[in-house]
């Protein structure tokens, strides 16, 4: 089991060591919140959510937090893709490492990266004036939801990357999945304000349920999110987690 921690350590070392990380970590939330949210605040000063009227910055802070977690989650599989591409997976498989340790280590690092990215956006949102219901209970509950989002989006990243073997395909798949998922969700706008087609898509999109579950806690002030949002998010997380574990351990072929 300790080997899973070594895999996690290595993945984090690679992540923190890259200039890419520092750039994305600091710039991405700034772009979404500092530029987009503050500019939109003039056009859409208030948004209604869960019976409460909140500033657009408050509303979108949660959306950007979840989106940031989603984006870094789908990218969390990148190390798997790189290892498959460079052949490092082969070195790992020729070692005494157990397959489940490798899968667990990957999931742990996906969770950590995604959680850190989500929290960085949340912190940035608070800095620019998001009014969130912060208490010990909401922090605990919010962190749990963010972990759930991180795990499911990290698992989604592993699902995407497990079988991809070329950078061209990787880019194509990422571009096809990421932007449409973000903009067909309730991350940036409330579901009720979306046109009919987008509203239908948003109701099928796990990102919407992740954003709304976190809003239920940090905006509405519930300890447990709306049961529908929560149960869909939990179901999606479980399915993604199981599928990622199954798919990845099947890709890791050895005797």
């Amino acid at each position: 089991m300790r080997a899973a921690l070594y895999i996690w350590q290595r993945d984090m070392l690679l992540w923190f060591g890259g200039a890419f990380f520092l750039t994305v970590f600091s710039i991405e939330p700034m772009v979404y919140l500092g530029l987009y949210a503050l500019s939109m605040q003039g056009l859409v000063p208030y948004v209604e959510y869960g019976g409460k009227l909140v500033t657009y910055v408050t509303f979108i802070t949660i959306g950007v937090t979840v989106t940031n977690a989603y984006l870094s989650g789908t990218h969390a599989g990148f190390q798997i893709f790189i290892d498959n591409l460079m052949g490092t997976s082969e070195l790992l498989l020729a070692s005494p490492l157990k397959k489940y340790e490798l899968v667990l280590g990957r999931l742990l690092s996906a969770l950590s990266k995604t959680l850190l990215m989500g929290l960085s956006a949340l912190f940035m949102g608070i800095l620019i004036g998001a009014q969130l219901m912060i208490s010990l209970a909401s922090l605990f509950s919010g962190l749990f939801i963010l972990c759930l989002c991180s795990l499911s989006f990290g698992a989604l990243g592993i699902i995407i990357c497990a079988r991809i073997k070329s950078s061209r395909v990787y880019n194509l798949v990422m571009n096809t999945i990421q932007l449409p998922t973000m903009f067909s969700s309730s991350a940036f706008y409330p579901k009720t304000a979306l046109p009919h087609v987008l509203r239908v898509l948003a109701s099928l999109n796990p990102l919407s349920y992740a954003a709304d579950s976190l809003r239920d806690i940090l905006i509405v002030g519930r300890f447990i999110p709306d049961i529908q949002n929560f149960s869909i998010l939990v179901s999606f997380s479980l399915i993604a987690l199981l599928l990622a574990s199954w798919l990845y351990s099947n890709v890791l072929t050895r005797l």
């Binding site: 290595r10 060591g17 070195l91 020729a94 070692s95 005494p96 072929t253 050895r254 005797l255």
Partner: protein
């Protein structure tokens, strides 16, 4: 025996990459596995190092069955792949620390220092892998493979892409590992000089089948008593009348390279005279005793 393969076969769909291969490697010996590209060398290494499941047959590595005791095999082997596979963004020491943890190496830092010393890499340990020359990348890979003090070390074309000096350094390191630690080496290469220089035993594989195996000097002796004439000519093949003497024929852009067999020195001179008599103009000529390359060519017609 350190490695004992019996009827190893691997098919990918309808293609049989390795066909019913059997061989034994003694403990502490260097076994050279020779073959042209695509002959089945890497597939064999992957089966022996538990990365690929044989379609049929099995093998024992370090005394354990690769099929039933793959976990134990993995603990006792080291693998140096054809190209460097360690993380290029991490330093040499970071990579070694990671793999020493994965292999549960006792007294990690001491062992890392030892392998760095063996490979002469002490001054390069803080460099990222991408900052190293090809020769040092290869050394770093060998250092990693030695962390767990393997009983069997698989070296898949360890000197491909290295300059002659770096190549000789790797040879010295391989000899040192065997001499000091009694490690068994399974070496694939397509450099005949390398195999002849290092191996106690060689096997020549082509098209998935082992064509011959044995002590390199014995294999050379098997075509001993014969001399080899290597000529390069621009003349068309129709002019060659001594077809029964041709060992191999290799077409190049404007020329053709022939290796011809002669029974002894006098016969070699006579053959040469015949060639001139036939009107063959010779651009380049080499008359010598056979070497492992000639054995290889005899069994693998295309180089």
């Amino acid at each position: 025996m350190s490695i004992s393969a019996r009827g190893l076969t691997k098919s990918f769909g309808k293609t049989e990459a390795v066909k019913n291969v059997s061989f034994d490697v003694q403990e502490g010996a260097i076994f050279g596995f020779l073959g042209p590209n695509g002959a089945g060398k890497t597939t064999t290494i992957k089966m022996l190092s538990t990365l690929l499941k044989p379609t049929s047959g099995t093998a024992f590595v370090a005394g354990f069955d690769i099929l039933r005791e793959s976990d134990r095999v993995r603990r006792l082997i080291g693998l140096v792949p054809q190209r460097p596979l360690m993380d290029s963004e991490l330093t040499v020491i970071q990579n070694l620390r990671f793999y020493s943890k994965i292999y549960q190496v006792k007294y990690r830092e001491r062992r890392i220092s030892e392998v760095l010393d063996i490979m002469g890499m002490g001054d390069h340990k803080a460099k990222k892998m991408w900052q190293l020359s090809e020769g040092y990348k290869k050394r770093a890979e060998v250092a990693r493979s030695l962390l767990n003090e393997p009983r069997v070390l698989f070296l898949d074309e360890p000197t491909t892409g290295l300059d002659p000096i770096a190549r000789r350094t790797v040879w010295d390191i391989i000899r040192k590992i065997v001499r000091d630690h009694g490690t068994t080496i399974f070496l694939t290469t397509h450099y005949m000089e390398e195999a002849e220089e290092l191996s106690d035993t060689v096997a020549i594989i082509d098209n998935g089948k082992i064509k011959t195996s044995g002590d390199p000097s014995m294999l050379i002796d098997s075509i001993q008593g014969e001399w080899v004439l290597k000529i390069i000519t621009q003349n068309p093949p129709e002019l060659m009348t001594c077809t029964s003497r041709i060992i191999s024929e290799k077409r190049m852009e404007d020329d053709t390279e022939y290796r011809l067999r002669a029974a002894n020195r006098e016969d070699a001179v006579k053959t040469l005279a015949n060639l001139f008599g036939d009107g063959i103009s010779i651009k380049n000529l080499e008359i010598r005793r056979p070497n492992l390359e000639d054995v290889f060519i005899q069994y693998v017609k295309e180089l």
